[in-house]
């Protein structure tokens, strides 16, 4: 046997040994962990398995989009937690992307006052931990007075320590959930149908409003108006949609923090658009707005989408700080379930799998979007 071959086979043997050792160590660690867990569980008199999902919970929590009671089963309560997380996550994805694009565009502006103001905003909100902003905001909201001292916003919305009262469509909570899903479905439909960006956004917005009005026409209670507007009667508000302060604090703080981050992403993307393209637009006599919407944004999107997708995933994960201010997101519900039922391992496993699924869905979506937006090379 020649030396070269000998060396090669020795290298191969070594590589196999290392890999076998890793597999063996992993198996050993998992086996050790499992047997320890079994020992600990029997010592603590806990049963394992998922049968607890059928049991009643017997405890209450702060927020749910759909009907709930303390007699709900565990799987239903966990589902509500998931719904809350997705709800806050999607709202924050939309608000942060919207404000992020505005602030990022201002950051990119040549006008010194606008870029300065946007910079101040970004530097303040990006450099303070999100959880601190959420707790701070929550503390400020909770110190607002009762409904009688509510801050009146143009007689249609009221902000008090009990929550934000908003005018809204006269539909039941489940009807509202259905509307949100319909809106999301319409949006995804337009993305799949490859309608161009701005037209797609416009039609999406229009059709969402249309569907909402239609739904309200059909679903509103007998003899009531299309909209429900909050009004102070006695010591409390009637009518309108009530947004609890936990939800409000969570959404506003994630929006402030997240849009500062997205603004930086957008600014970076806009700055990368070659000057020649902008100048070509100017030479063609395009207005500043159409240069922005027809040249800069479509070009910038290609470098914006990948980090933007990461930011969206971050937003979904950030909803877990809801536990710090008592918002019943999935993590809050899971932690509560653990302390009440003791099914630690099963619940943590469910939580992890759910987040893996959410993140891979978003990653899949942004990868797909990114592939679609890439310049078609001929």
């Amino acid at each position: 046997m020649s030396t070269a071959e000998e060396l090669r086979s020795r290298a191969k043997r070594r590589s196999l040994t290392i890999q076998a050792a890793i597999v063996a160590l992993t198996v050993l660690a998992v086996w050790g962990a499992v047997s320890n867990a079994q020992y600990n569980l029997t010592r603590l008199n806990m049963t394992s398995g998922f049968s607890f999902l059928e049991r009643d919970t017997g405890w209450d929590y702060s927020f749910s989009l759909i009907e709930r009671s303390i007699d709900d089963r565990y799987y239903y309560t966990l589902f509500i937690g998931l719904l809350n997380t997705l709800f806050v996550g999607f709202i924050c994805i939309i608000t942060t992307t919207f404000f992020g694009f505005i602030v990022g565009t201002l950051r990119d502006a040549r006008h010194p006052a606008l870029s300065f103001a946007a910079n101040v905003y970004v530097q303040i909100f990006r450099n303070i931990p999100l959880i601190l902003q959420a707790i701070f905001l929550y503390a400020m909201l909770i110190h607002l007075g009762g409904p009688r001292q509510a801050i009146n916003i143009a007689d249609v919305a009221f902000l008090s320590g009990r929550g934000l009262m908003l005018p809204g469509l006269n539909v039941s909570p489940s009807g509202a959930v259905g509307l949100l899903l319909a809106s999301a479905a319409i949006g995804i439909g337009f993305v799949i149908a490859q309608v161009s960006l701005w037209r797609g956004l416009a039609i999406w917005f229009g059709s969402t409003v249309g569907v909402a009005v239609l739904a309200a026409l059909v679903l509103r209670p007998e003899g009531e108006g299309l909209l429900t507007i909050p009004a102070l009667t006695g010591l409390r508000f009637t009518g309108g949609i009530s947004v609890p302060i936990e939800l409000l604090a969570l959404i506003v703080s994630i929006t402030l923090y997240g849009s500062a981050y997205i603004a930086e992403i957008v600014r970076g993307g806009l700055a990368q658009v070659p000057r020649g393209l902008v100048e070509a637009g100017q030479a063609l006599g395009m207005s500043r707005v159409s240069i922005w919407s027809r040249i800069k944004v479509p070009m910038a999107l290609r470098s914006i989408i990948p980090p933007l997708g990461n930011q969206w995933i971050f937003m979904m994960k950030a909803t877990t700080i809801g536990i710090a201010i008592g918002f019943s997101d999935l993590f809050y519900i899971t932690v509560n379930s653990i302390s009440q039922s003791g099914q630690t391992l099963e619940l943590i496993l469910l939580l992890m799998l759910t987040f893996l699924a959410i993140n891979y869905s978003i990653a899949f979506f942004t990868n797909w979007l990114n592939a679609r937006l890439q310049l078609k090379e001929h």
Partner: protein
């Protein structure tokens, strides 16, 4: 000679010219400038009026607080609690020194003279050891304070330093494993990195604090704080591994091959040729990760640690100081902001510096 007259215009003059041209070049632009600056000035004036001009500063004057101005008396009275948590009162000097040790370590690692793996490693281990010896105390013959007693800003800095110190080699290890030729090693790294990155940090920390003890025999359990630090370091490592991966991708493959052709061993190629370039390349992103880590340490308050956020909440927890929660939150936010903003600005400066040296 005429040529000496051609001096570059000063940066300041250029900036002023640009400011006037873009900010006041047209009536609309001037209008926007005046409007925006007026609004900003109004907000700043209102804030300063509350926070400075009408504020009460000392705890002796706390009865003068009337709600029209900031009541900084609460900071005067409770700053020790916010900064040191439940650390024994007479030993606060140790906590101060320990915090300074961490800050000095961070500052020193910003100097280009320190950019060398050995020096950085020595610096951080020394800084961290100094912190631990001072805080724990028993090895220096001082009164022993166990980790349960640590709190406030010192605890935040400790978590930060421990996570970076532990997470950096773990991140490098994961990145190397991910590049490995051996499929089992590669997949091992991929699964760990992707799982940790998909989970919210608070889930990882909660698992480390509450769930992991179920899996471990009692002798391996360790202190809660060390389990949480390990979980946090894993989080740091999973992200940092991706940063390193970007750095490795920037190194031309030919360098490895040249090294191999010369018969240099794998570890020698790595340590002497590749890693020095990778470190230089990933520096800006690494600083970004360090900034994120500092910010995310605030999460530990959820799983029951007495960091600066939790101690701040305790500071206005008494009936006397309860109305002045805004002052306390602003104080804590300002501390975070100063650390995070300066580190972030330093990262920006480095990025600019490297962009220049690249040409």
């Amino acid at each position: 000679m005429a040529i000496t007259d051609i001096t570059p215009p000063s940066q300041f003059t250029e900036a002023r010219k640009r400011f006037v041209r873009h900010g006041f070049g047209s009536p609309q632009a001037s209008f926007i400038s005046v409007l925006v600056f007026a609004v900003l000035a109004y907000i700043a004036w209102k804030f300063l009026g509350w926070a400075v001009f009408r504020a009460v500063w000392s705890k002796e004057n706390a009865d003068l607080c009337d709600g029209h101005g900031a009541c900084w008396s609460v900071i005067d009275a409770r700053h020790r609690l916010i900064l040191f948590g439940t650390y024994p009162y007479d030993e606060h000097w140790r906590s101060t020194l320990a915090a300074i040790a961490i800050v000095v370590t961070v500052l020193l690692s910003c100097l280009p003279a320190m950019w060398n793996a050995t020096r950085l490693a020595v610096l951080w281990i020394v800084g961290f050891a100094a912190y631990y010896l001072l805080m724990e105390g028993s090895l220096l013959g001082l009164q022993q304070v166990t980790t349960d007693g640590w709190g406030g800003l010192s605890l935040t800095l400790f978590l930060f330093a421990a996570v970076v110190l532990l997470g950096m080699p773990m991140g490098l290890g994961l990145a190397l494993m991910r590049r490995s030729q051996m499929p089992v090693v590669r997949w091992f790294a991929v699964i760990i990195i992707d799982t940790i990155r998909s989970l919210p940090l608070v889930t990882t920390l909660f698992t480390a604090a509450v769930v992991v003890p179920l899996f471990l025999p009692t002798w391996l359990e360790g202190d809660k704080i060390w389990r949480v630090i390990f979980g946090f370091a894993l989080f740091f490592a999973a992200y940092q591994a991706e940063v390193f991966r970007g750095g490795f991708q920037a190194i031309p493959k030919g360098q490895f091959e040249a090294g191999k052709a010369l018969g240099i061993s794998y570890w020698c190629i790595l340590g002497r040729i590749v890693l020095p370039q990778v470190f230089r390349h990933v520096l800006p992103s690494t600083i970004n990760m360090v900034v994120v880590t500092f910010k995310e340490t605030a999460i530990v308050t959820i799983i029951g640690f007495f960091d600066i956020l939790a101690s701040g909440k305790t500071a206005f927890g008494t009936a006397e100081w309860a109305p002045y929660y805004i002052e306390v939150f602003l104080f804590v936010a300002a501390i975070y902001w100063i650390f995070i903003f300066s580190l972030g600005q330093y990262g920006e400066y480095l990025k600019g510096r490297m962009a220049i040296s690249e040409h």
